[in-house]
C-alpha cells in the first residue's frame, strides 16, 4: 500500500495561472484531492495534457507529465497505457481539444483503453479569444458567433458512452462531490471520461452573463443529464491485448525465412524475362513465385513484380519475372523474352508487348484465346486434353510453366517441384497438376 500524501501538487510551480473565477482552479484542486484519496504512487501516474488553458495544467503536478499536440492527447495516453498497463494515465483536455480530436476520443472509448479523461468544458476557446467550440450552447454569443450560436452543441458523455466507454459522467465545477466522481473515474477499469462544465470568466461569462445558476439551467434546457451516465465492465484493452495476442517466443523463432539451397543445374546463359498474363483468382502471382523459387533452387537469381487492380478479386493479374545467372540490378522489363497469355484479362493487358516480341522470343497462348499478330514463335496450349486439372483455372499457369520447362530444359522439373513443396498446404494439388501438364496438347 502506498503512503498517503497530503498533495500531488508541486509547490515549486504553484500558484495556478488561471484567471480569477476560472473553473480550472477547481478541477485541478479536485483532481489533487482525488489522487490523495486514491493514494497512488506519483511515479505511477502520468498526466497527459492537451492544448489551451487546460494544457497548462500538467506542470503543477509532481507526477510524470506529457504535454502534447492539440486534440491528440488521448493518442499519446493510449501509447503509454499500451506500453505500461500498470500506470494510471490521466488526460486533461478542453472542449476545444475534444473538438479537434473527437475522432480519437470515440476510438479510445470504442477500444476501451484504460485512460481517464477529464474535459475542462468552459463552452468556448478561453486561450485564443473566446471563439465558439463544439460545446457552445445554442444562441450563445462568442467572438465568432456574434449573432448567437446556430450549431447544436456536442453531447460529450453521450458520444463516448454510445461507443463503448466503460465509464462516462457529466457534472459541473460546482458539484460538491466532484473529487469523488473523479476518483471513481480513475479507479474504473477501461476508458473513463468526466465532462466537467465550468465558467470561463475571461470570455464566456461576460459575453453571456453566465452564472452558476444559468450554467445549470443550460444543462436542463439542453436535456443534458448529469451524474454517472454509463457504467460498464467491458475488458480493458491493454490487458485484453496481452491476454489474447501476446506470446513470448525467442526472437530468432519469429518470422522464420525460407532458404532456397541451390542444388540443381540450369541452362541459362543470359538474363531472361517472363510475363505471366492471367486473371484474378488464377494464382498467377503464385506461379511467378514458383518459377522464381525453382530458378533459385537451380542456382539463378530472380526478381518478381506483380500487377493487379486494387479490387483484387476481379480483372487482370500479371506477374513479371526476371531470371539471370548474375545479380539483377535493374528490375524493369522493357521487352520480355517469354509471354504466357493464359486468360483474356491478361491478354488484353499485354497485347502491345506481344506485338513488340521478335522471332527469338516465345509466346505461349491459351488455345481458346484469339490469335495475336506477333513475330515470336507461338505455342498454343490446349488444356482440355489434361482432363480434370486442365479445366481448373487456378492450375493453368503452373501447367503452362510445366510445359515450358519440359520443352526448354531451362532448369529441371524437380527444382520446380521443390518450390511447390515449400507450401505443403497446396503441394499435393499443384504437383498433380504439374504431372498432368505432360498431357497438355501443344499446337
Amino acid at each position: 500500500m502506498n503512503t498517503k500524501r497530503e498533495t500531488y501538487l508541486n509547490p515549486d510551480t504553484l500558484p495556478f495561472p488561471f484567471c480569477p473565477g476560472c473553473g480550472h482552479h477547481t478541477i485541478l484542486e479536485k483532481l489533487d484531492q482525488a489522487l490523495v484519496d486514491l493514494a497512488l504512487d506519483p511515479k505511477e501516474v502520468v498526466i497527459v495534457s492537451d492544448i489551451g488553458c487546460a494544457g497548462l495544467s500538467d506542470r503543477y503536478f509532481d507526477t510524470h507529465a506529457f504535454h502534447g499536440l492539440h486534440g491528440r492527447s488521448v493518442t499519446y495516453a493510449t501509447g503509454i497505457k499500451m506500453a505500461r498497463p500498470e500506470l494510471t494515465v490521466i488526460v486533461l483536455i478542453g472542449d476545444g481539444g475534444f473538438g479537434i480530436g473527437g475522432h480519437h476520443m470515440l476510438n479510445a472509448a470504442r477500444r476501451n483503453i484504460g485512460v481517464n479523461v477529464f474535459v475542462f468544458n468552459n463552452l468556448n476557446y478561453g486561450m485564443t479569444g473566446g471563439e465558439h467550440s463544439v460545446t457552445t450552447p445554442l444562441e450563445a454569443r462568442t467572438s465568432t458567433t456574434p449573432y448567437g450560436q446556430l450549431e447544436q452543441p456536442l453531447d460529450i458523455p453521450a458520444s463516448v458512452g454510445l461507443n463503448g466507454a466503460n465509464f462516462a459522467a457529466r457534472t459541473t465545477t460546482f458539484d460538491p462531490d466532484l473529487a469523488n466522481l473523479m476518483a471513481q473515474a480513475i479507479q474504473h477499469e477501461g476508458f473513463s471520461l468526466v465532462d466537467i462544465w465550468e465558467l470561463c470568466t475571461a470570455y464566456f461569462v461576460p459575453q453571456n452573463r453566465l452564472s452558476k445558476a444559468k450554467l445549470e439551467q443550460t444543462l436542463v434546457k439542453l436535456d443534458f443529464d448529469t451524474g454517472v451516465l454509463h457504467n460498464r465492465q467491458r475488458p480493458e484493452f491493454s490487458r485484453a491485448y496481452r491476454e489474447k495476442a501476446v506470446n513470448e517466443r525467442p526472437r530468432e523463432d519469429v518470422m522464420e525465412v525460407t532458404t532456397l539451397q541451390p542444388s540443381f543445374e540450369n541452362s541459362l546463359s543470359r538474363q531472361k524475362s517472363f510475363i505471366l498474363a492471367g486473371a484474378a483468382g488464377a494464382k498467377i502471382g503464385t506461379a511467378g513465385t514458383l518459377l522464381s523459387q525453382g530458378a533459385i533452387f537451380s542456382g539463378m537469381q530472380a526478381t518478381q513484380r506483380n500487377d493487379y487492380p486494387v479490387t483484387v478479386k476481379t480483372g487482370h493479374s500479371i506477374a513479371e519475372v526476371i531470371l539471370s545467372p548474375e545479380e539483377i540490378t535493374y528490375t524493369g522489363v522493357e521487352k520480355p523474352d517469354v509471354i504466357l497469355a493464359l486468360f483474356p484479362e491478361g491478354l488484353a493487358k499485354v497485347r502491345k508487348q506481344i506485338k513488340a516480341l521478335n522471332e527469338e522470343d516465345l509466346l505461349i497462348l491459351h488455345a481458346d484465346l484469339p490469335g495475336v499478330e506477333t513475330a515470336a514463335r507461338t505455342w498454343r496450349l490446349d488444356f482440355r486434353s489434361a482432363n480434370r486439372w486442365g479445366r481448373k483455372k487456378e492450375f493453368r499457369a503452373i501447367m503452362a510453366l510445366g510445359v515450358y520447362l519440359r520443352e526448354t530444359g531451362l532448369y529441371p522439373l524437380e527444382a520446380f517441384k521443390e518450390a511447390i513443396r515449400l507450401t505443403p498446404r497446396f503441394a499435393e494439388d499443384n504437383l498433380a497438376a504439374l504431372e498432368a501438364s505432360k498431357d497438355v496438347e501443344m499446337g
Binding site: 510551480t13 506519483p42 511515479k43 500538467d58 506542470r59 509532481d62 510524470h64 507529465a65 506529457f66 504535454h67 502534447g68 499536440l69 491528440r72 488521448v74 493518442t75 499519446y76 495516453a77 493510449t78 501509447g79 503509454i80 499500451m82 506500453a83 505500461r84 500498470e86 475522432h103 480519437h104 476510438n107 491485448y241 495476442a245 501476446v246 506470446n247 513470448e248 517466443r249 525467442p250 523463432d253 519469429v254 518470422m255 525465412v257 525460407t258 532458404t259 532456397l260 539451397q261 541451390p262 513465385t289 522464381s292 533459385i296 539463378m300 537469381q301 530472380a302 526478381t303 518478381q304 513484380r305 506483380n306 500487377d307 486494387v310 539483377i328 540490378t329 535493374y330 528490375t331 524493369g332
Partner: protein, 373 residues
C-alpha cells in the same frame, strides 16, 4: 543461403531483429504489408502492434510508447507522412527515438497508389514546422531494406530523433533473391538512460551536440515531456537564452555528427570524368548503366548515397573530386539534384535525369544522357 522476398518483408524482419517491440500504423498502399507482417509476428515475441484509427493516432501511439521505454516503428506512404507532419515536429521537439518508413508512391495527394516514385525526398527533410533536422536513409535493394532498418533503429536510439527509411513501391513490393544473414545482424545501441543516483534533468546536456539521457514514463525518475519550447527541466519558457540553447541543440546534435551518420558508397573508376550519383531504386538503374558502360569500355564512377539527410556533404565532395560531369537520376523533378548542384564546383556540370511517369529510369537513358553509350 538465398531467400526470395520483397522489401517490405525485409523491413519487418529488420525491425524484429533490431528489437522493435512496438509498431503502430494505418493501412496504405504500398506500405501495408509491413503492418501485416508485424501484426502477425511482433506479438509472438512480446511486441505490441496497433492499427490506429488514422495516421495521426498511429503516430501518437508510437510517441507515447517510445517515451515509455519501447523501441518503436511506424510505416506509411506519402499521404500518411502528410498526416504525420505535426507529430514529426513533436518527436523532434521531445527528442523521441522513432523509425518511420516511407514507402513512396506517386504524389501529390492520393496520386497513383500502386505507382512508385521518389517524390518525398525534400518533404521528409522539411515536412514539419521549424525546419529542424531529421535523419533519412534510403536502401536500394531488399537486403539493404533489412540492414538499413536495423541501422535506422540504431541511429534513432543514438540521436533521439525520427529516422526515416525512404523506400518506394518497387523496392517494397518486388521480390528478389536475397542473402540476409539474421545471425549476423548488427546490434542496435541502447538509448542513453539517466542514472538512478542523481537528479534527472530532461535536457541535461553540457554541450549543444550532446544527446540527453532518457527515462521512461513509470520509471525511477519523474519525466516531463513537452511539445512546447522548454528549459532544461522541461518547463515552457520564453527566456531567449533557453530558447536559443534548445533550438541550437536540436540542430547541433545531428549536424555536428554528419560524418558519423554519412553512408556513401563510391565505386570509383580511375581517371573517370563522369560520375553517376543516385539513391534508392534509381541507384539500381545507375548501377546497371555503369556496369554496361564499363563493358563497352567507357569510364564511369558510381556513387550511391544511403544517408540522404543530413546531406553527407564532405563524403560527396570527396567522391566527386576530378569528375567533370555528374549524372543524377531520380524519380521526381530534381529534388536531390539541387543538393548536388550546391555541392558541385563551378567547373562541374550536373545533369539530372527525371521521370514522373511511373516507369523506372532505364540504364539506357542514363548512358545516353551521360555520354556513356
Amino acid at each position: 543461403m538465398p531467400q526470395f522476398m520483397d522489401g517490405n518483408r525485409a523491413i519487418a524482419l529488420g525491425a524484429i531483429d533490431a528489437g522493435c517491440d512496438f509498431f503502430a500504423g494505418y493501412p496504405i498502399t504500398p506500405a501495408t504489408s509491413i503492418l501485416l507482417h508485424l501484426a502477425q509476428n511482433l506479438p509472438e515475441m512480446s511486441g505490441l502492434v496497433l492499427q490506429g484509427e488514422d495516421e495521426i493516432a498511429s503516430m501518437g501511439f508510437c510517441i507515447g510508447a517510445a517515451m515509455s521505454g519501447r523501441r518503436v516503428m511506424t510505416a506509411t506512404s506519402g499521404p500518411g507522412i502528410s498526416l504525420y507532419s505535426e507529430n514529426i515536429g513533436l518527436a523532434i521537439m521531445g527528442e523521441v527515438p522513432l523509425v518511420i518508413v516511407d514507402v513512396q508512391r506517386m504524389g501529390p495527394a492520393t496520386g497513383a497508389a500502386t505507382t512508385g516514385a521518389q517524390g518525398d525526398i525534400q518533404f521528409l527533410r522539411w515536412g514539419t514546422s521549424g525546419g529542424y533536422p531529421v535523419i533519412v536513409l534510403a536502401p536500394t535493394t531488399v537486403e539493404e531494406c533489412y540492414a538499413l532498418t536495423i541501422k535506422a533503429f540504431d541511429l534513432a536510439e543514438r540521436f533521439r530523433v525520427p529516422v526515416f527509411l525512404a523506400t518506394d513501391k518497387e523496392t517494397a513490393l518486388t521480390k528478389t533473391t536475397t542473402h540476409i544473414e539474421r545471425e549476423h545482424a548488427p546490434r542496435v545501441r541502447d538509448r542513453k538512460t539517466a542514472d538512478l543516483e542523481s537528479e534527472f534533468v530532461p535536457l541535461g546536456i553540457e554541450e549543444l551536440d550532446e544527446v540527453p539521457a532518457m527515462t521512461p514514463f513509470g520509471g525511477p525518475h519523474k519525466l516531463r515531456f513537452t511539445t512546447s519550447s522548454h528549459d532544461e527541466h522541461g518547463y515552457l519558457t520564453k527566456d531567449p537564452q533557453a530558447l536559443d540553447r534548445l533550438n541550437r541543440h536540436l540542430a547541433e546534435k545531428i549536424e555536428a555528427h554528419v560524418e558519423e551518420i554519412a553512408m556513401v558508397d563510391v565505386d570509383a573508376d580511375q581517371g573517370s570524368e563522369t560520375a553517376v550519383l543516385s539513391y534508392g531504386i534509381s541507384a539500381r538503374s545507375a548501377k546497371a548503366a555503369v556496369r554496361e558502360a564499363r563493358q563497352k569500355g567507357k569510364k564511369a564512377t558510381l556513387i550511391t548515397v544511403y544517408s540522404l539527410w543530413p546531406v553527407p556533404e564532405d563524403a560527396i565532395r570527396e567522391a566527386l573530386k576530378g569528375v567533370k560531369t555528374i549524372i543524377v537520376p531520380e524519380l521526381n523533378l530534381g529534388q536531390y539534384t539541387r543538393e548536388i548542384q550546391r555541392l558541385a564546383t563551378n567547373d562541374q556540370e550536373v545533369i539530372g535525369i527525371y521521370r514522373v511517369d511511373g516507369k523506372l529510369i532505364t540504364p539506357e537513358e542514363i548512358r545516353e544522357q551521360g555520354g556513356l553509350l
